[in-house]
């Protein structure tokens, strides 16, 4: 078979992406757990682990650049390599959001939680499901599944709106809660961004498969500033 070595390299990059995705999921769950259990040690662990994700992304990118420079990929091969770079960047940023949640944990663990966390873990589950689905769609070049991920982003955005208004009520009722409520709002914002980045991965998959950009891009704009 022609170009089997090149194809083997593409497969290896795909496994690197899966590994990065697994690390992002794990680190996000740990960050949430640290927040819920007010566990500063675990939060510090999450912050430390982000370096590994960053390093993986650096490696992934230089491998892709090397292949583009030496192998003259065209058509789908070129889209694949460009997409892998893009997805790597998305995953690296997701890792940063997990790290952000861990840093918030370090700021607030000494105080009791404002309220039991219910919607934030739900949001995290939805966002991480989107991450898994988007990576699976990407690995299997499954455009249909990728479109599902794009559609699921609405549920995360709705939860984010709900949390936002709920925390606003806390703050209005008792200004002493402003700091803790704001921290939780940041956490929700980080999760909303993770879901958005998963949507970006799904859109990248659609582009990879079809060669066309996803038409629902506008709908997926950052709603966190509303």
């Amino acid at each position: 078979m022609l170009r089997s070595e090149f194809d083997r390299n593409l497969d290896l990059l795909q496994s690197d992406l899966s590994e990065m995705g697994r690390m992002v999921e794990e680190t996000t769950r740990q960050a949430l757990h640290a927040l819920q259990e007010r566990d500063p040690d675990m939060a510090r662990q999450v912050i430390q682990n982000d370096d590994a994700i960053d390093n993986l992304q650096d490696e992934l990118e230089s491998k892709c650049v090397g292949l583009i420079a030496t192998q003259q990929p065209a058509a789908r091969d070129l889209r694949t390599l460009m997409s892998i770079v893009h997805v790597g960047v998305e995953l690296e940023r997701m890792g940063d959001y997990a790290e952000g949640i861990a840093k918030i944990c370090l700021r607030m663990y000494q105080e009791p939680l404002l309220k039991p966390l219910i919607d934030i873990p739900r949001m995290a589950d939805l966002a991480l499901n989107m991450l898994n689905d988007s990576l699976q769609a990407f690995a299997e070049r499954d455009e249909w599944q990728a479109r599902q991920v794009c559609d699921n982003d609405d549920a995360v955005d709705d939860l984010y709106d709900q949390i936002y208004h709920e925390l606003l009520v806390y703050m209005l009722q008792d200004p002493r809660t402003i700091q803790r409520a704001t921290y939780l709002l940041w956490v929700a914002h980080d999760l909303e961004r993770i879901a958005d980045r998963a949507t970006n991965i799904a859109e990248r998959c659609i582009w990879l498969v079809s060669g066309h950009t996803a038409s629902n891009r506008a709908r997926n704009s950052d709603r966190s500033l509303r």
């Binding site: 022609l2 089997s4 070595e5 496994s15 690197d16 490696e59 090397g66 030496t70």
Partner: protein, 263 residues
């Protein structure tokens, strides 16, 4: 997931030490130092007239056939000095095979082309086995196994070139020199040879001269860039990992050559 590479001492199949070449009074290559690792593909690239083929032909002493040619410096083949007094170029060429720009099968059957080297070399094993093994290694066996008695010249260009590779392999060399082996082939036959090189490097060391920079990028582990100076004397400008040469070369002449701005 990548794992950290274990430190392994790299063995070198060939080492060039201060190799300087002359045609008559003209110096054409100056002071090349370069170590070619075993079981890798090393590409020599550079503009026309940069001495790529001359340097390659120094290795198996093909230049000895040119009366005005002279070489200073040393080329080591393992621990063996290829230019030591008394060393036999014919024996060297069994160890260091060569494939040329245009496929040049003998006007003999496919079988006899491959069996030619072992026969004159006094090979006394089963000739059929070595012919099959060599044709398999050259990824040609499946295409020719039912027509071994036909002339090698009846094959397509790409098949002929693979036949020449099989012929080179039949004398069991450890290094294969390829001098622009795909320049007479179409893109698909070219890819077939390139793919074959990835297989061959598991058992052999390959040095390829190519004027096709993209091909060097695709096939090689290391790349050497030769460039002539204003006196038309070729220098080794840079020699490094191919991925580095093509993404972040050290020398600005390499950058300019790789990006098509000089040469």
């Amino acid at each position: 997931m990548t794992t950290a590479a274990e430190p392994v001492a790299v063995r070198h199949a060939l080492r060039f030490e201060g190799v300087t070449a002359y045609y008559g009074a003209n110096k054409v290559i100056t002071n090349v130092d370069m170590a070619v690792p075993e079981h890798e593909v090393t590409a020599i690239i550079g503009p026309s007239g940069a001495g790529k083929s001359t340097l390659l032909r120094c290795v198996n002493r093909m230049n000895d056939l040119i009366p005005a040619f002279r070489m200073d410096g040393k080329i080591w083949f393992g621990d063996y000095d290829l230019y030591a007094p008394g060393s036999d170029p014919t024996q060297i060429r069994y160890q260091i095979g060569m494939v040329f720009q245009r496929p040049n099968p003998f006007s003999k059957s496919i079988y006899d082309n491959v069996a030619f080297g072992p026969r004159i070399n006094g090979f006394n094993g089963r000739l059929d086995d070595i012919v099959e093994e060599s044709l398999r290694a050259a990824a040609l066996w499946e295409e020719v196994k039912d027509r071994l008695k036909e002339s090698g010249l009846t094959l397509s260009g790409g098949q002929q070139q693979r036949l020449c590779i099989a012929r080179a392999l039949a004398v069991q060399p450890s290094v294969i020199l390829m001098d622009e082996p795909c320049s007479a082939l179409d893109p698909i036959a070219t890819l077939a040879i390139e793919e074959l090189m990835q297989e061959l490097k598991k058992r052999y060391t390959i040095v390829i001269v190519t004027h096709n920079m993209q091909q060097a990028g695709r096939v090689s582990d290391k790349t050497a860039l030769l460039m002539p100076d204003e006196h038309r004397v070729a220098h080794l400008v840079e020699f490094d990992e191919t991925s580095r040469m093509f993404t972040n070369p050290t020398d600005e002449r390499t950058e300019a050559y790789i990006t098509g701005r000089i040469g």
